[in-house]
Amino acid sequence: MNAATLRHVRYVATQNPVTLAAFLMFTALVLLAIAGPWIAPYDPLASDTANALKPPSARNWFGTDSLGRDILSRIMVAARLDFGIAVSAVAASFAIGATLGALAGFFGGWADRIIGRIADTIMAFPLFVLAMGIVAALGNTVANIVLATAIINLPFYIRVSRAEVNVRRNAGYVEAARLAGNSDLRVLALHVFPNVLPPMMVQISLNMGWAILNAAGLSFIGLGVRPPQAEWGIMVAEGATYIISGEWWVALFPGAVLMLAVFTFNLLGDGLRDVMDPRMRT
């Protein structure tokens, strides 16, 4: 990052305080995911039926659920699981999607057609429905939630990377690298691909929120993470039965934290896009 970029970053941050706030929230959430299990006031699995369904109080800030478990502690501990799922899924789709897209964009021809067809076939499904089908078929585990989320995000990475590599394929510096005797793969990996990373970063940030939402949605309908493990989507599902009878805190707090996390990533993605490419702002 050179001085001009830094200046631009500062300009975006001061012009758009929302981005700055998003970045601070992001830091807080990451800290929570790392330290959550250590700083949680109670054991997230310890039930205490005498103290069940109590509204928020000085003792249990976010109240207790139907088994008397402390909701605040459960939310804090769940941060690591929710983030873990999203980070691993996004990392997997980035690694595979960026590679496939780069190959398709650089070599064209058959590689392009086959990889394009794979992306189109995935996109032919409503994505959440495909994720449901994958988890239902492969088995109800956290690993399969990660896999399903990675698969449904794959087309976005393939497309961005393909398009960005494709426009640079015949750039002057690529020709120069070739003439200097670099092999095709070496040119692609060391000269073209690094330039594709900035737009991919924006995609990753926007995708993280969607990945968290997706994982939470899957566990909300009973796929993947299983009770009694704490996870935001399951906690909302557990609270759903009580909200109609007025015990709002069981579903509200995990839902609100989930929303805040997704919101943070979406704002951050927008902010990053402003930094990378001011013209793209919508």
Binding site: T121, V129, L213, G233, G239, I244
Partner: protein
Amino acid sequence: MVLKRLAGALPNVIGVVIVTFLLTRALPGDPAAYFAGPSASTEAIQQIRASLGLDKPLAHQFALYLRDLAKGDLGNSLSTGQPVLTEIRQRLPASLELTLCGLVLALSVAVPLGILAATRPGSWIDHLCRLLATAGVSLPTFFTGLLLAYVFYFLLGVAPSPLGRIDVAFSPPPTVTGLYLVDSLLARDAALFWASGGQLVLPAVTLGLFVMAPLMRMTRASMLGVLSSEFIRTARASGLPRTKVLYAYAFRNALLPVVTTLGMVFSFLLGSNVLVEKVFAWPGIGSYVIEALVASDYAPVQGFVLTMALLYVALNLAIDVLYGFIDPRVGIEG
């Protein structure tokens, strides 16, 4: 032109069928055991294996799968014993009604807001719209649904109880289209129309909130693009009234990218439909598939994935055709 687009959708249909087939074979352990259910005997599993053709090579199995599909045979549900196709057909109208209402609602809010933001770029209205849209897409639909039910049913008591398509006091209208709103109008039953409409409001708002953001952003971006083009400058310079320039000249041209986004929007809608149906106990195919998932009943799940995917391909095709009607230039190249 329509035929050409049909042919263009064919590879997607083939891809969808292959993936769904692979998903039926990917079941952990023995698919036959899964299809037979947890309490099946060894003989029953053997029988199912033979009837599913699982003892044959993969290519042969695929041919059998295609044959069943062509006959409209998606297998039987274990828990109800009914053919999956019949059940999906019975429940599909409920889901469609919800999805369409959600879409109409989202469009009717998102498009005006997008235009408003585009006519005042950089203003506080613009920033507010952007923030609202980002917030909308960040809301987990299942959570918004619960929140709305809590506020409008439990606290304010203005919404009917969030359970199903129709209050128990009413009986459903005679089935013509399967959409209660349309059927009750056809039956000239105003009370029933309002009753089913009332049940529909909260789930439809929940769905609409989620898909508002992409629609609004696209409207804003494409309006901004069109408003800075030369023919708008000319129209303004010629002294045409502001509203005429905005709606007759700019909006029509800005509509195209918005129609293109509809494809993505439908992907969101059909996916989150499942979650919203669970929250509001809506008797569509979404809650059908969740019941099946809970019971480890796989034939309905696969039938559901296939139906949704084919529906989505069909919707994309419809959007393509619509696109051709709005902009005749597209037809020439495509």
